[in-house]
């Protein structure tokens, strides 16, 4: 687990590379985090996923989008397209470090949308895992704002409610507008040789993605909302079985 900065020197991105130590070498993997507070809460689970991927031979790179985590940039200037470019930069970084063009891309929640858009822009990923993907950006925006309003009502009553913040993180108007225009099902075909879509409900919007694509496997999984506030500050829980399933699927997908 090695933290480092990569990408443009004027706007470096923070990443953590989990070097592969499995019995066999596999392509690199890039993990795209969700937005804002969800990324902070899901940090432990994505770390654990990266560690398990590395153990199976995938060098795995976690990273922070511009204006989030330790990456450079102001959160007030965050844009969805810039995050897709950040994911592309991470894909290039992994390609360079492994010397292999094939990359597996995984994303959680909004990160799944970023992962798919980046994979499409990169000409397709070797394998793509969308974990509880945000398919409809407008619905996601509504959900974030509702969660913020509920949190403020219950935990900081009297604080002013602003549409420009979501659970402690700036949500600038331009980013909100980007989310409103996001429809992952606007991608006509899966941007990967094989794709796995994990959703916790049978009617999860992700399950309708690329329904006719033979290379797409929708899979219903038990709800493991690792991105929510609920777990508090003193403990983290990870959905170990789900993460193992992702690693096993990716190992099969890149054979």
């Amino acid at each position: 687990m090695r933290p480092f900065y990569f990408g443009s020197s004027s706007r470096p991105l923070f990443g953590v590379l989990h070097e592969a130590h499995g019995a066999r070498a596999r392509p690199g993997a890039v993990l795209c985090p969700p937005f804002g507070q969800e990324a902070l809460r899901a940090h432990r689970s994505l770390r654990e996923l990266a560690a398990r991927l590395a153990g199976a031979g995938f060098p795995a790179l976690r990273f922070d989008y511009s204006g989030s985590g330790d990456s450079a940039g102001e959160p007030a200037e965050a844009r969805l397209d810039a995050w897709v470019e950040d994911a592309l930069t991470a894909i290039e970084e992994v390609r360079e470090s492994t010397g292999e063009a094939r990359v597996a891309v995984t994303g959680l929640r909004l990160g799944a949308a970023v992962a798919a858009l980046a994979a499409a822009r990169a000409g397709g990923a070797a394998a793509l895992v969308l974990w509880e993907p945000v398919v409809d950006g407008a619905a996601h925006l509504e959900e974030l704002r509702a969660a913020h309003a509920a949190w403020i009502r219950d935990h900081a009553p009297g604080a002013a409610l602003s549409p420009d913040e979501a659970l402690g993180i700036p949500l600038p108007p331009a980013l909100a507008s980007d989310l409103t225009g996001l429809r992952l099902d606007g991608l006509e075909a899966p941007p990967a040789r094989k794709a796995l879509v994990l959703g916790s409900a049978l009617d999860s919007p992700g399950h309708s993605l690329w329904r006719n694509g033979a290379a797409v496997e929708p899979r219903a999984v038990p709800a493991s909302p690792v991105w929510l506030h609920a777990e508090g500050m003193a403990r983290a829980r990870v959905p170990g079985a789900l993460l193992d399933d992702v690693v096993a699927w990716l190992a099969g997908a890149v054979e």
């Binding site: 953590v16 770390r47 604080a159 402690g168 003193a234 403990r235 990870v238 079985a241």
Partner: protein, 299 residues
């Protein structure tokens, strides 16, 4: 402003980011060390460590934010040192990293359990010139329930909700009755969250809360050591109540001598979710750090 990531510690297992002013650190200023809050990684609750580090860099401060063993991006320890001891040892190692780059004195910043660790590190390490303690000692002391209810009763919104049958006070009382013999209050699950099939991660951060007597002794000792202090509280919470009934009198000599200050924020939660509360927290800590630096230089 420049940032670089590194691994430090005996096993090179602790992940850190150093933030430096564009023109290099001002050697007359103390360096800043940010300490993890609970299991939240080194960017801090709501990323407030990153924001503070970058704003303080504009004032000439170098800082390091890092993860304790097993938290965030740091590997777990190979030994079985209890968290209370390893956290203080690792905070001191983080100071060593900046000391090797020229820092002579330090200001610690911690929220919640990070503040508790900052207190213990400041007591152990003579290089600590100050500590910003945000929501330290998060335990409900005797009388807190009454304090919280009195504040709610004085809040017109509470009356409105009571009259509409949606009183938090009533809900809280009912929840406490239900939890009565259950050995502690579990945070209520939100609708739809349920209990996911999750397994506990390898590490949890035990809340290392001293007894009330020990907490008072710790603050008294910090005051006697002439450590500069900045206490920040959320007005409604149990940590501030502890300040009022327990710590205020211990800190009074330092407040009188200008070595301790207090910021109490209304309309915020424990981790400063409203951005307006974050703005005030950052401004207060930045002002305090600059004042301490000026005083240290003058002295």
């Amino acid at each position: 402003m420049r940032e670089r990531a590194l691994l430090f510690g005996e096993a090179k297992s602790l992940a850190a980011v150093i933030t430096e002013p564009a023109g290099g650190p001002d050697p007359r200023r103390p360096a800043i060390v940010f300490l993890d809050a609970g299991i939240l990684h080194h960017v801090g609750p709501n990323r407030v460590h990153v924001r503070l580090a970058r704003e303080l860099a504009r004032d000439g401060f170098v800082s390091v934010r890092f993860d304790f063993s097993g938290i965030g991006d740091s590997r777990s320890r190979a030994d079985a040192l209890p968290f209370a001891e390893s956290a203080v040892a690792e905070a001191r190692q983080a100071m060593d990293v900046l000391a090797a780059r020229g820092a002579a004195s330090f200001l610690l910043f911690g929220i919640c359990s990070g503040a508790d660790t900052a207190i213990r590190a400041a007591l152990e390490d003579g290089r600590v010139a100050g500590a910003a303690l945000v929501e330290p000692y998060l335990v409900e002391g005797p009388g807190y329930t009454l304090y919280a209810y009195r504040r709610k009763i004085l809040n017109p919104l509470s009356w409105w909700r009571l009259l509409r049958g949606r009183s938090e006070i009533l809900e809280t009382l009912a929840a406490r009755r239900r939890a009565g013999n259950a050995g502690g209050a579990e945070p209520a699950a939100r609708p739809g969250e349920g209990r996911p099939p999750l397994e506990a991660a390898a590490d949890e951060v035990p809340l290392i809360l001293p007894s009330r007597g020990e907490a008072a002794r710790q603050v008294r000792a910090l005051v006697e050591k002439k450590v500069n202090l900045c206490f920040v509280y959320a007005q409604e919470g149990p940590a501030y109540h502890n300040w009022l009934v327990l710590l205020r009198r211990e800190a009074r000599p330092a407040v009188r001598q200008g070595r301790a200050r207090l910021l109490v924020l209304a309309h915020t939660d424990h981790v400063f979710t409203p951005l307006a509360a974050q703005d005030r927290l950052v401004a207060a800590v930045r002002g305090w750090a600059n004042d301490v630096a000026a005083r240290t230089t003058a002295g």
